[in-house]
């Protein structure tokens, strides 16, 4: 592992917030599974956690961490290290620590109680969502120097993807309900990483309902191997593009 990455990871672990996040996830997951009589109901609760809390924690923690380590970044910049290497190390440090937190906190109970396709899907989606929101936070925090503004952008981004986006889609669906918009809807979901993750899991969780008419259209796309690979690729694009843009900005930024 890169030395800067290692330093970031150790620093985050010392910070204890991620540790608390791990413990909270673990408490929640274990209790959810042991309280519900069938594991699929527990999975439902955890799905909400993955789609709501994991992105929130990832984006908030990362944004604040980046702002707080601005002096550390400046110090590193005075060293003979390439700029992209510093930014990438910061990103991978954050991504690694949050992924480990998710794996230990929620991944283990999920795989213990549901060691099937659904469980693996859930864990991989959780990891991807964590990393996507780290990437988005890198983008948000490079946009402005003002810490309050940066955190504001992060919160708004999270709110948009978690709540507003679906509201807008629902509104549009009603406005255009006379038109054949099913296929368009599949395309629109690509613009929201949370929706992409949700649908991936939905196809496993509500397989019977998804065999209905419109469900079948979605299943024809997301349920096939090609669709699955495509969805994962889209999620990876959601990591690559925000990070790449932030990297360009970081390279040119006058700190």
């Amino acid at each position: 592992m890169n030395r800067i990455t290692k330093f970031v990871v150790i620093n985050i672990i010392r910070n204890r917030i991620v540790l608390i996040y791990t413990i909270l996830l673990a408490l929640l997951s274990w209790s959810v599974f042991s309280l519900e009589d069938n594991s699929s109901k527990g999975m439902l609760t955890l799905l909400n956690v993955i789609l709501l809390n994991v992105p929130l924690v990832s984006i908030m923690f990362s944004t604040i961490y980046i702002y707080n380590s601005s002096e550390f970044i400046e110090l590193l910049l005075s060293q003979p290290i390439q700029r992209w290497r510093i930014w990438l190390s910061l990103f991978s440090g954050l991504a690694i620590s949050l992924t480990i937190a998710f794996l230990v906190g929620a991944g283990i109970p999920i795989l213990v109680y549901s060691p099937d396709k659904l469980g693996f899907m859930m864990v991989s989606v959780g990891i991807l969502v964590s990393v996507v929101f780290v990437a988005i936070s890198m983008f948000a925090s490079i946009l402005t120097r003002d810490k309050a503004k940066g955190i504001g952008i992060s919160i708004m981004t999270w709110l948009f993807f978690a709540l507003l986006f679906d509201g807008i889609i629902l509104f549009l669906m009603f406005q255009f309900s006379d038109y054949p918009i099913e296929k368009l809807m599949v395309g629109v979901t690509a613009f929201n990483p949370i929706d992409l993750s949700r649908i991936l899991i939905l196809l496993h969780l509500d397989v019977s309902a998804m065999m209905g008419y419109t469900g079948a259209i979605f299943k024809d796309f997301f349920g096939t191997d090609l669709g699955l690979i495509l969805t994962f690729l889209l999620l990876i694009l959601w990591i690559a593009i925000p990070f790449w843009i932030s990297l360009i900005k970081f390279n040119r930024k006058d700190l």
Partner: protein
Amino acid sequence: MRLISIFFLSLAFPLLLISRTISVGESKLFSKLQLAFDAANDGDSIIVFGGFYVEGNLILKKSVHLIGKNLPVVDGQKKYEILSVKANHVIIEGFRFQNSGFSSMTDPGAIKVYNSKFVTVRNNVLDDNFFGVYLQYCKNCVIENNTIKAYGIEEQQIGNGIHCWKSDSLYISGNTISGHRDGIYFEFVTNSLIEKNNSDSNIRYGLHFMFSNNDDYIENTFRNNGAGVAVMFTKHVKMINNIFEENWGDAAYGLLLKDISDSFITGNSFNNNTSGIYMEGVNRAIVENNSFASNGWGMKIQANCMDNTITSNNFINNTFDISTNGTLVLNTFSGNYWDKYEGYDLNRDNIGDVPYHPLSIFSVIVENNPPAMLLFRSFMVTLLDRSEKMIPSITPDNFVDNSPLMHSLSL
């Protein structure tokens, strides 16, 4: 008195004596089935020994007991109806009928019974026929323990496994039917019992019921049929202890009920169907002690259903328990177990103290706007559902179970 009965018995005795046993087979008296049929008298037994019989369309006009030994094969060469029965009191058992002809005009079947009474078809194997067993204008017939298999691909290209038309008092039991258009087809059939059959992987319906009153079907299994089971335009049907499973597709239902009245649906289990029960124009049905598990929709009750009682059922792990297409509610829900119920039970009588509204707002939204399914389980939708549960605005507030159970029933 005794003398008189002895007198009558002695009159009957010669009849018993004349009844013969005719053997058909290689190096037997007859080598052709049709010759044996023509030579037989009413009351004879015809024993057919294993072999391969290709004789076009066989016509049986005598009341005989037809016994196949070592599963003789009767082949229709894909051209002929194999066996036409035109006599009462016929028993057919132990044969393998295969490759009947195909025609939409004459509907050839492997065994077709015309206008007869007391015909029994049992323990036969029917393979790759257009229709399997076809009864028309029959009474008191028995079809049991047959294995009926076809390899249909398109609805128009294949007939039904067991097809009954304008008949009465039939007993259909223990058959295994697959690959036909409809597994069992009833039209204008009354006072009949269908039990312990296994109908799976048929192209259209596992069981198709039209204009057939006063029939019961009990302990059958219907699995993975194109569109599940359909019961239409019928009254006084009892559906008891059947299993409806894995009927997947937009127009596929575990059980489709259309214009049914006074029916009794009890002890059935509906698992992994897109829709467990779909009800349209159903009146006075009693739905009780059924289990709905892991379906997309547990029950779809259209607003034109009236006076139905849905009581003591388990709704477990369905995506939607109930959906409807209107605001009119003329049905009664009581004492069901809903796994989505979140109320409490202070007096510990196993009945929840808060009424349960089984209709979620999102099921109404999806009913009106199917693509909205894409948003299911998103935070937005969960919020909508929650607020609707608190203060029903779009969903009818009389769509309610006032005595929801706290624990599932053991069914």
